[in-house]
Each structure stands twice: as C-alpha cells, then as structure tokens.
C-alpha cells in the first residue's frame, strides 16, 4: 500500500486508512489543523445559520456548540469520531460559523496559583 496516498494522513502502522465512518466528510480524512481535544469551539447563534445549507452533522455541531464546548466533548455529544468532527469543524470554521479557541500554552504548565486553585477545587468537591 502506498504510504503517501494523498488524503490518508490519519494512519496507524497497523490499521491502514480510515474508511467508512468518513462518508459524512466525503471521504476527507485529513484532520483540519488545530482543534485540540480541549480546544473550545463556539458556534454562531442558531438563528443566524441557514440550516438548509448544512449537512445534519454540521447542524448538530452548531446546536451543541451554542455554548463553548471542548472538541472531545463535542465529539462525544454528536456521536461522531474525533477525526470526523475535526473535518466538519474545519468546514464550519471556513464558513465563519464557529470560532475555535486552542488551549493556552500555559495550560500545560500553569502557574502555582492555578495549581493551588485546582487542589482547593478538588478538595471542595
């Protein structure tokens, strides 16, 4: 199998290209850049969206993302694989219908005050 087949970026050494679940993306498997698991996406208000122009999956994403939602949670709630959701989010981003906030670099190494807030918050749960 050609390793460099265009569009087959989402590969696993053992598993080969991703196929069937990607029919909703028209077979596109390249993950859009960005959309970290914990990036937050927010969609345009529903009443500004011409729903007739969209696939049901796009619409489902817009509905869930009326409030900021992490990409992983979005994927779970619309019940689509992560890679699929990323492709669809790329479409919506291109159409100006969602905005994505990638995680702040500081989240990987938060300052002491933030860590203390997390400890206190966990204790208070």
């Amino acid at each position: 199998m050609a390793a460099d087949t265009p569009g087959h970026d989402w590969l696993d050494m053992d598993a080969g290209p991703v196929v069937r679940p990607y029919t909703v993306t028209g077979g596109r498997v390249r993950p859009a850049t960005g959309f970290d698991l914990v990036a937050f996406v927010v969609a345009a208000p529903l009443d500004r969206v011409d729903a007739a122009q969209l696939q049901p999956e796009h619409r489902a994403i817009i509905e869930v993302a009326q409030r900021p939602v992490a990409v992983a949670e979005l994927s779970a709630r619309v019940d689509l694989a992560l890679g699929v959701v990323r492709v669809l989010l790329g479409d919506l981003l291109g159409a100006g219908l969602v905005v994505s906030y990638e995680p702040q670099p500081a989240a990987a190494l938060p300052n002491y005050d933030i860590l203390q807030a997390v400890v206190n918050g966990l204790r208070a749960l």
């Binding site: 199998m1 989402w10 696993d12 050494m13 053992d14 598993a15 080969g16 290209p17 991703v18 196929v19 069937r20 679940p21 970290d36 698991l37 914990v38 937050f40 927010v42 969609a43 345009a44 208000p45 500004r48 409030r67 900021p68 992490a70 992983a72 949670e73 994927s75 779970a76 709630r77 694989a81 992560l82 890679g83 699929v84 100006g96 219908l97 969602v98 905005v99 906030y101 995680p103 702040q104 670099p105 500081a106 989240a107 990987a108 190494l109 938060p110 300052n111 002491y112 933030i114 860590l115 203390q116 807030a117 997390v118 400890v119 918050g121 966990l122 204790r123 749960l125």
Partner: protein, 197 residues
C-alpha cells in the same frame, strides 16, 4: 487570523482554561471506572475509528468488507470554577494506539498511572511513556482484592520509580479516593514547578 467582526461567534462568551489529565495503565485496571468516579458528567467516549489492516487492503471494492476498529477514549470533566476546568482522558489500552497517546499527552498537565499489583508489569509501558516524555505522573495502586498485597514502597521499587514520584493506594470506584489521586498529581506538578524555578 482575520479581523474581528462584531458578530463573531462566541463573542462575549467566557472561555475557560482547560487542564488535561490522563488516566493510564494496563488493560482492565480501572481507567474507565476512575474517570467515571470523579467526573461531574456521565463519562463520555470520544472515539477514533480505524479500518483494520485487512488482507484486502488493496482491493478497491473492499471498503464495505473492511471491519473498523473503534478506539475509545474515556473522557470526563471537573469544573473547578468558571474559568478553570479539568478534563480527564482515559488512554486506550492497546499499544498499537500510541499515536493517540501522543495526541492525548500533548499539552497535558500530568497523568495518573493505575497499577494492579497482581500484574504490575502491565503498567510498565505507561510509566516508560511518561518518563520519556517528562510528563509528571503519580502511580495509583488499585487494590482489587480489597487488601494490600504490596506496600507502596515495594511497588515503587518494582517500577524503579524516581523517589519523588508519588505512589498512592486507591480504589478506582471510590470518588474520594479518585480525588485524592488527582490532588496528589496536581501537588506533585506544583512541587516540580517550585523545584524547577
């Protein structure tokens, strides 16, 4: 990025900071259980789907025949406050999904490695992975048999852990125990920061 328009989606909405914590360990060690015990939402699964490496990979008509493998990543959330959320991700158990681990570990605050003393070796790959990446982690010894067969010290020895890595006895089914594990991790991260500063 393009210029900010006033009707930009999400304008005026508060975006919290999201901290990512991984829950790792061998097959059946209690990863899903732990995520469920501490998450404020019903644990969700986000998945990636891979076609299996079937014999018919080169058969253009074989698309329908291919079976797909679903790699599920358990996922939970804890809201600390309006501006701060912790996301928990259970890692997929099988080694061939390392590429998903890389995505999960990217930007992670740290990890909890669950260990079952009856088969301690199952957590070696997780320990190796986080050591190599210098991702801070704690080891949670999941006491399946209800009694403590091994002391934390003997687990530490067997895993050849750095002396500063916390080893905590736990019960993944118990919310308080799960919280204690997460607190141990965050305090460990904080301590490493102070030492590094």
């Amino acid at each position: 990025m393009d210029s900010v328009r006033s009707e930009r989606p999400g304008a005026g909405q508060r975006i919290p900071m999201a901290l990512k914590i991984l829950i790792a360990g061998g097959f059946g060690v209690g990863k899903t259980t732990l995520v469920g015990a501490v998450s404020e939402i019903r644990p969700l699964q986000t998945e990636e789907v891979l076609s299996s490496a079937g014999e018919d990979t080169d058969d253009v008509s074989g698309v329908e025949a291919k079976t797909t493998t679903t790699v599920a990543m358990d996922f939970g959330r804890i809201t600390i406050n309006e501006d701060l959320q912790v996301y928990l991700f259970g890692t997929p158990g099988q080694d061939r999904f390392w590429f998903l681990w890389d995505e999960l570990a990217f930007g992670a605050l740290g990890a909890v490695v669950l260990a079952d003393t009856r088969r301690l070796a199952d957590c070696f790959p997780s320990v190796d992975y986080f050591e190599t990446r210098r991702t801070p982690f704690v080891v949670g010894v999941n006491c399946f048999d209800g009694k403590q067969l091994h002391s934390p010290a003997s687990v530490r020895n067997a895993l050849d852990l750095d002396p500063d890595v916390p080893v905590v006895l736990c019960d993944a089914r118990d919310r308080q125990s799960g919280k204690d594990l997460l607190i141990a991790l965050v305090e460990h991260v904080a301590k490493r920061r102070v030492v590094a500063a």
